[in-house]
């Protein structure tokens, strides 16, 4: 794994590196969709759902607890957990939380939920008879699917 230089924003390849590592954890046993909650648990984190509306989620890296605001829409929780997993990935890369950029963290979260390789394959394989990208990624917030599409230059 690469190491982020302190006080500088990570390069895109470093983001992919973090994302790939956590993705491996999240897609164990050949699962085709990442299970971010399992990945967090595999790292030793407790996932606790707390009905506090101040934040969608936050991570206590010392206590190894990830708090997630419960939501009736499972996509909200998936996104929150992926975002928190992205924070954990950055910590593992040596970037302390005070240097985490929320926009980059979102980018990493999208890489975890929609890895570039499979995303490109799905988009390229789409034809008139194939389900849309939103259908393929129905477990992800559609806004994030759109953001990933733009991010990857489609």
């Amino acid at each position: 794994m690469g190491a982020f230089a302190l006080c500088s924003l990570p390069e895109p390849w470093e983001i992919e590196c973090s994302a790939q590592f956590v993705l491996q954890l999240a897609c164990q046993d050949g699962a085709d969709k990442p299970d971010v909650e399992e990945a967090l648990k595999d790292l030793g984190f407790l996932v606790i759902r707390v009905a506090v509306a101040e934040k969608r989620g936050w991570t206590d890296f010392d206590q190894l607890i990830v708090y997630c605001r419960p939501s009736p829409d499972p996509r909200d929780e998936t996104w929150t957990l992926a975002h928190e997993l992205a924070h954990v990935a950055q910590e593992l890369e040596g970037l302390p939380s005070e240097f985490h950029d929320e926009i980059i963290t979102d980018q990493i979260a999208r890489s975890i939920l929609m890895p570039e390789g499979s995303f490109r394959k799905i988009v390229k394989g789409l034809g008139p008879d194939n389900p849309g990208i939103l259908e393929e990624y129905r477990h992800v917030d559609p806004v994030q699917v759109l953001a990933r599409t733009i991010e990857l230059g489609f």
Partner: protein, 209 residues
């Protein structure tokens, strides 16, 4: 901004301290007995402590003042604070309803609190503490989430803190909840990934420098 306590904030903790005091002396104590002793209508003190009643007539004010060892002036001031919080700024003799959105949220969580409140386990001050937490931390009972079940855990946490003789502040309740959840889930906790341990050590070393 600091303000005077409302009727609920004044009466709830007092009822608790009276009970604690009586228990410490080995005496039997109940809110009902206190009401009977001072000729206060059944349930009045409980309603005040839950915030369901924010105004009192002069006779009841006099009786409650005697029962709780307060001055009537203190109770009247608390009633005015309750009114100030509940009323629109220019309310006259006719009460103007508060802004709808605030009231819906407030009524929503008060209803959930009411449902979760168990008179046998919880005391009025637990209700007040959790209500304060809901209000001050902008916490909401979210749609689709079992509100009463969650709030009941918060009330239980406030009760445990009270039983330890500590102040059930909002942060104390959150600490208690976290500690409890961690304790409950400890058994299912998986081993910590070596990379996480490594990152934690690096972090601590950085903080020590």
């Amino acid at each position: 901004m600091s303000r005077m306590p409302t009727l609920k904030e004044l009466v709830g903790p007092l009822l608790d301290s009276l009970e604690t005091e009586a228990k410490a002396k080995g005496q039997k104590w109940s809110v009902r007995a206190l009401e009977l002793k001072h000729g206060i209508a059944n349930g009045t003190l409980g309603q005040i402590a839950k915030g369901q009643r924010t105004t009192l007539n002069p006779d009841t004010t006099h009786k409650i003042a005697l029962a709780l060892g307060l001055s009537e002036a203190e109770l009247n001031r608390a009633q005015r604070t309750s009114d100030d919080l509940d009323d629109a700024p220019d309310s006259g003799p006719e009460r103007t309803p508060p802004a709808a959105s605030t009231e819906i949220v407030r009524e929503g969580y008060l209803a959930v609190l009411d449902e979760a409140f168990d008179g046998e386990t919880h005391k009025p001050s637990d209700f007040v503490a959790v209500e304060r937490l809901l209000r001050s931390r902008a916490a909401q009972i979210l749609p689709g989430v079992d509100g009463p079940q969650i709030v009941r855990r918060w009330l239980d946490a406030a009760a445990r803190i009270r039983e330890r003789g500590e102040n059930a502040s909002s942060s104390a309740i959150i600490r208690e909840l976290t500690a409890r959840v961690v304790e409950l889930e400890e058994a299912n906790r998986r081993p910590v990934h070596p990379l996480v341990k490594q990152a934690q050590e690096k972090r601590r070393a950085r903080e020590d420098r």
